[in-house]
Symmetry: D2
Subunit: 341 residues, 4 copies
């Protein structure tokens, strides 16, 4: 860590900081400039040291040097990790397409949509049984009935299935039915939920929060990893900015940065970033070109009847066309999507 003193700090103030650095088990290196003194604090950094040092009188700023996410950082684990969900691998040469309706709505749509996306080349199914909705008056998901339908569809189609959990109390139930636990953007810093899925041995799909920096996203992954669950896949899904042309601003640079900053696989969710189906293919191709390990996309055969997020659901035919383009772009960057069946 580096401690920057305020200009004009006197010797006693500086000495108090030096003493405190020593008490934390770090070695102080003092550099006195004409206006400012800076003190390097060398040794094993702990996240908690930062506010302690910043609270000291005379301290202007404290800068951490090491990544605080020891388990997630590529700095400490140079090799890329591969996360397996049944027969599907995230983080290898092959990219993974996950597709399906926003929510499980009844016992037919998921089968129909699932068959269509599998035929187009998707390798995993998605569908929500617990739905985080901004309005308390909106459809909140089918709960366990939805999970049962999801399981049945996954089994019939031979595709692993990912589904969201919103509440630590849903985790035990969900692990019985689904192959991958999804943490939504609004729960990226729901720390008890992160710990709970970290205690399972199910792979976790961790969406980036709407206002989360890449660093905070990786700190949330660290919560899961710290519980012993090594199978975390990150998912960029757009951030909140002033730009209103799409629902969120798809941060393709976060894919580029995250792929270098962590060894965990990184996929994209263009549907929620776009909020409108017309933008989904463009964002998807951009993400794959940038190095994403796959995508999760919402598909519906009759979006105007969808229980949620109809405007962003891609039609099955458009999805098939998009998969063809994805295959071409993936090949261009040395990756591949499986051929349609």
């Amino acid at each position: 860590m580096i401690v920057v003193m305020k200009s004009g700090s006197d010797d006693a103030t500086i000495q108090h900081v030096i003493d405190r650095i020593g008490e934390l088990g770090l070695q102080p290196h003092v550099s006195r400039g004409r206006f400012r003194t800076i003190i390097g604090a060398i040794g094993e950094e702990a996240e908690s040291f930062l506010p302690k040092l910043k609270s000291l009188p005379g301290v202007d700023d404290v800068l951490a040097i090491m990544r605080p996410y020891k388990l997630a950082a590529r700095e400490f684990h140079p090799e890329g990790s591969v996360v397996r969900v049944g027969p599907v691998e995230f983080g290898g040469r092959a990219c993974v397409g996950i597709a399906g309706p926003c929510a499980v709505e009844n016992d037919t749509t998921i089968f129909q949509v699932g068959r269509a996306v599998r035929a187009a080349g998707a390798r995993m199914l998605r569908g929500g049984a617990f739905k985080p909705r901004t309005s308390p008056y909106s459809f909140q998901g089918m709960g366990e009935d939805g999970l049962k339908i999801l399981r049945a569809a996954a089994d019939e189609l031979g595709m692993p299935v990912a589904s969201e959990v919103m509440d630590p109390r849903q985790v035990e139930l969900a692990v019985r039915y689904v192959d991958m636990l999804q943490i939504g953007a609004r729960n990226m810093q729901n720390f008890t939920l992160l710990s709970e899925v970290g205690k399972t041995r199910k792979p976790v799909l961790l969406k980036r929060g709407l206002a989360a920096s890449v660093k905070e996203w990786l700190m949330s992954a660290e919560y899961v990893l710290a519980q012993g669950n090594k199978d975390v896949v990150l998912c960029e899904r757009g951030i909140k900015t002033f730009e209103g042309a799409m629902r969120y601003t798809f941060d393709v640079g976060a894919v580029v940065v995250a792929k270098r900053e962590t060894h965990l696989p990184v996929i994209i969710d263009p549907s929620h970033a776009a909020g409108d189906r017309q933008w989904v293919p463009g964002l998807t191709l951009a993400g794959i070109a940038a190095g994403a390990d796959g995508f999760i996309v919402e598909v519906h055969d009759c979006p105007e009847d969808a229980m949620c997020d109809g405007p962003q659901a891609v039609f099955p035919a458009a999805f098939a066309e998009m998969m063809d383009q994805c295959r071409a772009v993936a090949a261009a960057v040395g990756r591949e999507f499986p051929e349609a069946e």
Copy 2:
């Protein structure tokens, strides 16, 4: 609602939209312009209609006219609400100061700090027993032991106490010890948690999310209100923007807007917005001048030993000085803070 059709939409496409509007129980009013057709959909708007209409072919945009938060909107409840927490009232002429350490750390600090802030004029105590921390390696709070200490301090000092819950499973425990349940910024859209506190009869302090619009904030209040709990106090605590001079950007305009948009009381949390104690008094005075019904501020008698957020904790003496300024500014805008004891 207003449906804006894409330019060049043909009659059949427009008719399909008109039919759908009718099926939703709304009355369509069609206005054809040279380039565009717009269709007013008059009647009782439901949040769920919007995506349904937006999913229809030929629809460019759908605009909601009515506030989707029926219970929170001043539009439907013109009188300001008063929320009572023991002897303390939020939303009346008097402003309320809530103060205390970030976390309950041991069984002495909360008493010492509590005595100091009460003497300065604070009327409620704060302190966290469950702490949302970005790092899994940071202090996570004392849990039930912390709640017990909080209760004891509140009883001894004769001040009601507010404390955060992060997990639906903590609610039942917390209601036994605290007088007001706090929902943190990162949980503003933790919908199952909102429902859970909505089922209690404890007043709720709802912080605004880091990336939440005022509208989304009020939708989250609606979650609590919809469960029958009428006692919600809103709290502005800064939003994420590009500006890094403080930890967050304190959105004083949100106080101004929220006071007009909802009948619920609105207070401010300058400590988390600032992230540094030197900025706390300035933000507090700004918020009170803008019409806030009070504040919640972190105070610590030895910030360098604080288990969390030391840099933003105000010293007791500075807090007392700030209270004096608050009294003056409140009086200037026709409000009041109680005199120090």
Copy 3:
């Protein structure tokens, strides 16, 4: 336009709005709901009507329906435009690579770098003679001497050259030396400068402002077009957000939206978005996959000696490698980059 009245507006207030709409030459269509009245104002919308209507008593909001950028909007000009800069075409099937050092620094670098990027497949040269610098103490560019060197390099290499103008007084000089006038992000709403370059017959490269919505960007293009200069190429270069991993957030979605919203060509500037050379190739590939018509990239053979922006300058060898990847991705989306010579 659509005028939304406040709830509870009385008949006289509504009639006043209706009268004003009539005076503007628009036809009012009134829809009265239970709580709110909305009034469609059908006819030729002018940008200036919006604030006039919004100023009226009882008006809650006014929504524009038609694009205010008549010349830039694809709504009114469905065919994509092609902008020619000498032998180079923007907006056709071929993508264009523009490359060169940030600034003209002396009379050798631009030739060396130019030769290298031309060999790798770049078709236009870049280099700044007038440099917008955040600090008054930084290198401000070589001025006319720089323009002369640029011209000489362009002539020797047989590549057209783009260079920035910052001040209306520089335009006359710059048109004598360069083939394309660049407007930087910080001048996107420098309206007198936009008008000035609009009066020339040189193609204009218009960077998006750091806080400009796509709509505002197109309004700025309209300023140039409205002066009779039809040759505008738009350039996405990142926006200001809370995310600090790169210097700016590269908004790849803006490329997708702009390509649909306007008939003008759209290219990308990954260098300024990234601020660090390691991120440049990833962003470039993302932009091309999303449909960009080309890119402008900073290249330097000795970045540590660059007079400005060294950290983001790509080495010539890395640029050549990146061009190969661009060729592959362009082919994957039905476009092409010319082969290296």
Copy 4:
């Protein structure tokens, strides 16, 4: 400056950085940690050193320690500056109210509005003769005719007048008529314009850019100061964020930070932040409570006829009421506004 090396950098790479630091005239202090090496570079920092060091192989990050705005920083000029515009002083105990219509529109409005705001306690007049408009089809201001009317009004009313310049070519003209040159938000980084007003001896009112950090704002002030013009008054007017309740997010914290970070006076422009007159008083009071040295507000006697920005123009009666509240709040924080005449 502090140079942070990438983990695993070898000795030769580190030595190259040490050598370069020495060549810049700085003294290197090396601290080797287990994973990382950090190098303090002690001495006179120049803004240009940062990119040079960041360009070096093996360098992960470079952190500046000293303020790059030597003339604007309070660090080097602890005393607050007072800027005089005729009889009016910014930065003293008294706060200054500047008010008037958005634009000079004709030869009567400015007199009428001027008389009203003077009677209410405003001490300076505002009015635009050159108007930056997002649309090329909107009213662009009356130019020199407008300046003449402004001067006549200022003389008759005995109030100094501030007016905007948008183009370096307007400066010579404007200095003949107005008492204070205003630089608008969109021109905050129009560096040639800043230099041009810096060469005059007229006080400058420098608005903060829509996406400018406080640091960048002060760097722009430095441009003016570096030309020898010491009379700069800063003006916070809202930044672009995701929140759409007001037109911009009024960053009251920037007032608090700027007052500590620079010795220059800081005022607020609540009108452009709000975009709607109903929010103007609340924001104004917040800004004054936070320590602003005054405000600039738009007032119009018939906003629905205003040539621009009618929705945000306050009526004269509301302005008088707001001035009364400002007087009370100013007194509460130890400042004062002059009594109404």
